[in-house]
Amino acid sequence: MEEPLKQADVMKGTRKEEVLDIDHSPSLFKRGWMKTPVDIRPSMHCFAGEPARLKVVDFPNPRVWSAMDEDWKLPTNWKEIVMDAFKVRLDRFRTFKLFMDICVRCGACADKCQFFIGSADPKNMPVLRAELFRSVYRKNFTTAGKLLGPIAGARDLTIDVLKEWWYYLYQCSECRRCSVFCPYGIDMAEITIIGRELTNLIGLNIDWIAAPVAFCYKTGNHLGIQPHAYKSMLEFFQDEIEIVTGVRVEPSYNRKGAEILFITPSGDVFADPGTWTCMGYMILFHYLESLGLDITWSTYASEGGNFGLFTSHEMMKRLNSKMYAEAKRLGVKWILGGECGHMWRVVNQYMGTMNLDLAEGSNLEEPVSPITGTKFENTKSTKMVHICEFTADLIKHNKLKLDPSRNDNLKVTFHDSCNPARAMGLLEEPRYVIKNVCNNFYEMPPTTIREQTFCCGGGSGLNAGEDVELRMRGGLPRANAVKFVHEKYGVNMLSCICAIDRAVFPDLMRYWVPGVEVTGVHEMVANAMVLEGEKEKTVNLRNEPLAGTEESEDV
């Protein structure tokens, strides 16, 4: 198995052959990638944002358009808008300025992006994806670029360049895998974030992002679910749980004075297989009630995810603000967050500084587990704890009665979701939890997990119905590693802690690795939990027979 490529090694040149091996990137530069015009293909891009969505959040240039049209119906001064905004962001974000300047084209990142790996399209090499922007940067903001033009790798922002930007901005899932391998830590995800921000200013976006943003702004969640529907759905889960376990759980909603507020992605509430994970949370909270857990759900802060992150920093801030606002309104002491990917990027990297002023005058304080007394010092600034940290702590303190054999029908592997892994370093906790709730756990190869994990292919708003081929290509490296453990160990369950993963993986598996299902971690936790007053369990939350019970039925 290949050793993971360490940044320090690249710098020292100890893994020179690996770096030098990549001769395609320089040759591509020689051949003049700038002269290869963009070829926008169906099934590789998403539908354009519909005007009604843009209107709701006052985004510019709402209109009907499609990337396949010749005329994208841009404002006449579009170039000026973009270049002005480019300049503003160079001043505002030091990282962006650095990333525009410091790349030495060493090529270490070139073959690390799953979209390149799956397509062999050179413009999906992170270095070249960034170059789409750097070239314009050089032409407009550097002396050499202004004077020498193409010789200095500089070019004007023409309409064709803009189209190329848009096309490749939405073939990057902002996963940050490339940044792990870059000796300078250049993070393509940040360039993509700013690139999308720039193009949104002239009305270039996709509907799969624009719609959730608009719904979230109006109703608090991506799907446009109103409070009573949110509650009905959880009531439906209460019934399901009772049928399987014989125990009636009683969640509370919008309860003022509760100690903890629980926020999770709405995908958990409304889409399989996330729904079973949601039932898992409900069972866990019920179990902990007698141990002193005082928690409430909110039908207003009914979305952990934040598609604003995929449009602009301002929109991300607006959509995130409901978390602290609701925490303050209800008077809770801290927030517990469910299994989500990009939600944790926003919470961990931005929320504490971006919106903490909204928490002024609230009861929010450094989170402490009411069951174990553990102080979650790492969340001192955000006041929000990841449910895997919370549950791992419970297990460590022996607070849960678990029977892992109830998951014996599963052979489990774990996919590190990009954001929890690379944006917050949550690597051990989910594994610790999984190993305590099921007996058969198998890791995928080391170069495909933890910090080096591959994206599911649908992150950052790319999980639309229409761009399925893009997703199948981008998801290939992940699926390929799953296939390996499926064939080698008989793995039949792919677990993850992200709602987008749970939406993307079932199709990805259907295509690349039939026979592997998808689950959240807390679904497995709940299935292993031994509840006070439970009936003799014969099925799991999915209504599938537990291992050992299926034969007895046959007799």
Partner: protein, 189 residues
Amino acid sequence: MDLKNLLLRKKSPIVKKWCEVVLRTYPEGGQAFLKKKDRFGNPVGHTIAEGIESIFDELLQGTKSDKIPLFFDNILRLRAVQDFSPSKAVGFVFGLKKVIRKELGSKLLKDGTSEEWAAFESEIDGMGLLCFDIYTQCREKIFDIRIKALRNQSHRLLKMAGVAYDLPEDYELSEEDRDLKKAHANKSH
């Protein structure tokens, strides 16, 4: 010498060149990467290299191999979601004929061998047809996934049940925009 032996002797250059036939169908700037040996870092290259060599081996075994469809499936599953027309996706199969002809040249024309070669060629043709079937199955799977994705759009279901919020349609589309929207819808489905 019989054809199988000739092919066996030239296995290495034939496999290498047949592989190149496949790789050349990918974007120029990505071909060098696809040659890199890394099962997990380069699944496309690995699948192609492994598949091509194994198919060739199976072919030489002579007896009807049930593994050949499997290796073709692995390769075509990739190509069915990459930028290829159907003919380009499966065309590499026929490239084997040309590769062999180049490698063995006049030896193929010798008595005895030429009949064997004719039979071998029709075997390759048969594989081509098999590949069309496999490719079509992969494409059908993709269509199936796409249709399901559209059907599963939970929002639409929720809206039908009357529980989801709908964005106000206060944004009046111009007649021109309405026509455009219809045109896009027709194009994309």
